[in-house]
Symmetry: C4
Subunit: 250 residues, 4 copies
């Protein structure tokens, strides 16, 4: 019987935030949104000036002992020899500018890159992906010398400014960054942005789809972020990840 305790909303302390961070890594790898690259993070509920993120390894194999604490300038707070992700500055900058954001995703789904290198804005075509009813902001202002990676404070801030108050942004030829008011929303946004990009791509190959109206978008977003809907999805994704990854033992 599916255990409803798995869904708990915002973490009450650092330990719960670390567990949610591990689960987000595992879920997004298991659902095909993350592969060898990409990363997620969760703001520290005990100190809003730091966040939790895995060391530089593939999300599919992240465990609690791989999680580092990082501050909003991207400095590693944890006393460790582990290497952090180069692009942790994306997360740091967003947490600095967006006090409403408690979790961040950055990844490279195939359909999102395809639409990004055509500069086609991603926008809701499906009810269950209704949170993207406003076209996502687009980033193509890469710092020369960084290999299209966001690794400097300056570019991290530029990405955060491009994001503005949106749910995410698309980066040309690179992928996307998505935020959430909690880990569950961030995971939902990451999976459903990929799903919407796929459906939108299919529709665009045959014609011009009818996008969700602003009113439809607002209403579906509220429905999707309700405890009923978000909790059902989260429990589902956790149960699937645990079934596929028996080494995840909490």
């Amino acid at each position: 019987m599916l255990n409803f305790k798995q869904y708990e909303g915002l973490p009450k302390n650092a330990s719960e935030a670390i567990e949610q961070c591990v689960l987000a890594n595992r879920i997004l790898a298991n659902e095909g949104v993350l592969d060898g690259f990409g990363h997620v993070s969760v703001r520290n509920p005990e100190n809003s000036k730091t966040f939790f993120q895995a060391r530089s390894i593939a999300p599919e194999f992240v465990n609690k002992e791989d999680i580092l604490e990082i501050d909003l300038e991207g400095n590693i707070v944890t006393n460790t020899n582990f290497r952090a992700y180069g692009e942790r500055i994306i997360h740091a900058s967003i947490y600095k500018y967006r006090t409403d954001v408690q979790a961040v995703f950055h990844g490279h789904p195939t359909e999102i890159i395809a639409l990004s290198c055509l500069n086609i804005p991603i926008r809701s075509v499906a009810q269950y992906c209704g949170m993207f009813y406003e076209p996502l902001p687009f980033y193509d202002d890469y710092e020369p010398g960084c290999g299209m990676l966001i690794v400097t404070q300056k570019e991290g801030d530029r990405v955060a400014r491009t994001l503005g108050n949106a749910l995410g942004l698309v980066m040309r030829g690179h992928g996307c960054t998505v935020v959430g008011a909690n880990v569950q929303q961030m995971v939902m946004n990451a999976i459903f942005l990929r799903d919407n990009a796929k459906i939108q791509y299919l529709a665009l190959a045959l014609g011009e789809p009818k996008y969700l109206s602003e009113q439809e978008g607002r209403e579906t977003t509220k429905a999707q972020y309700s405890e009923n809907s978000l909790g059902r999805c989260w429990n589902y994704w956790v149960a699937r990840a645990k079934k596929a990854m028996p080494d995840l033992n909490f």
Copy 2:
């Protein structure tokens, strides 16, 4: 050796209906037609004014103890604290208007949403999907304030009227609803509607497909709903679900 007893047609009592409801959930999740959302139901053979449906959890993990009894106004008959699906009213309204229907599916396959937001009618292009030889009715008359979800009695009735005597209907930007004269037909219709949408999509990207004629459609439907064909498919889907889901222990 494949056990042919698994196919039994209409349930003889409530207990069998609940088992078939669980199997339909598992099969449709295992075949990729249902994911975190979507739901199925089976009319109660002991009381045609109620039906069985899982509580609000993902179909992949439904077990017998998750099944609720619901009446045709959408009231939960079972004495329980479990939450029901918000869109159970789709099922309730259809059972009210369509006395021939014993099972209902509602879900959101990718290709069906893509075609729906272009308002391209789904119609049989493949022999094995011949039951959709008449283009499915199309619904785009969402109640303001409900987030494109069918949750009011009034809209449930509108959906049922749009369905009319058809096998299913397509809902713009949302998905589809499919019915059956028994659970096995409903499961076949749900899987093959998805398959037909995929093949039709592929064909439309290159040209104008030759659809099945009305005569071809009528004949293939009869063949597909025969005990030989439907029983073979049902046994196959059950065997695959049981292999992939060892926790399903009946």
Copy 3:
């Protein structure tokens, strides 16, 4: 270490033919070429007027005890209560007209149906699928009253005549039938026809592909049917099927 004894070419007796028939069912299900429908057969090496084929169940679950012996008019020779596939007449008719054929496949891959309902001839675009260098014959002459299924002697003969000396034929809105000089060739032809249809489809969506020339086709066919190439593939497919299907215990 991969066991090279698995590849043995033509069966020496009925018992080996039955084993190869089971393996072909399992391989083609495991490689995604067969699902709930479709069937394969192997000519009886002890009696060229009969062939072996599973009873009417899904190929993924076929075992030795499910194999029937059938004659070239489609009569079931085995003393059994099992039901045979309705379309066994396709196999019977081909064995009657084509003495060079020792194994037959009939199935419904997605991409083949999509191309078939556009009447786009399938033809080799890939070296490893070079055996289809002559466009496959096309069948769209269904007998009224049979639901686009080939179930009468008369239509079986018509299908066999359309096939002529070709490796296979495409049936509009239905699927394909493929033959082989032995089971291994039939399995290779079935998998690679599906693969070629997929690659050809992808190419046609962007432009006009360069097809293999007749000379290229002849040469690649010879190379693919060599013991080295065919044996390597067969051993690979058997090993994969056995890994995925532990119930297959010979």
Copy 4:
């Protein structure tokens, strides 16, 4: 916890080269880049005039005892009855002309063949596939009589000359050949060439993508081949292969 010792760069001796060759076979099969055909090789660190490659079996099942030593004319140095791959001459010729190359891949991914038979040059559209910023050379000069296979010294040399100093080349209707300065780079190049072809294909179906500039390509290549990035990917791919293939016991 993910074991970082798995990434070791260039093999120190023949024994390590053989292990890396086995891992490359398993990884590329597990990631869907190799199937029944295709092959990889690793130059012998103890003798730059020979290289290691599996006997003629499917990559998914290669073990250490299947690895042969072959010289740069394609002669089998190992004292064995095993058969070598016919196309080993591709590898031999490249090792002869390209002293910087320590590992070679040859395979047939679907999307690469599709683009190849349209003669559409493959070129970086994604940051993580930035190493292909210069369009790959194209080969369509097959030796008559060889079935589009590269099996003669003369044609092996012609392929090597077409490759020139590039990272790989595309062969019309056949597939691709990719090289690396070490096994890890070769594996990354093989997987990401397939990925880039897929994303580029998707983009081309809707419009004209913005390709990576030369500067972007140079920078991303440097980032991708860094120990941090390449090591993370290699460890990820090894861990996934070991999880999926329990028979790989080193």
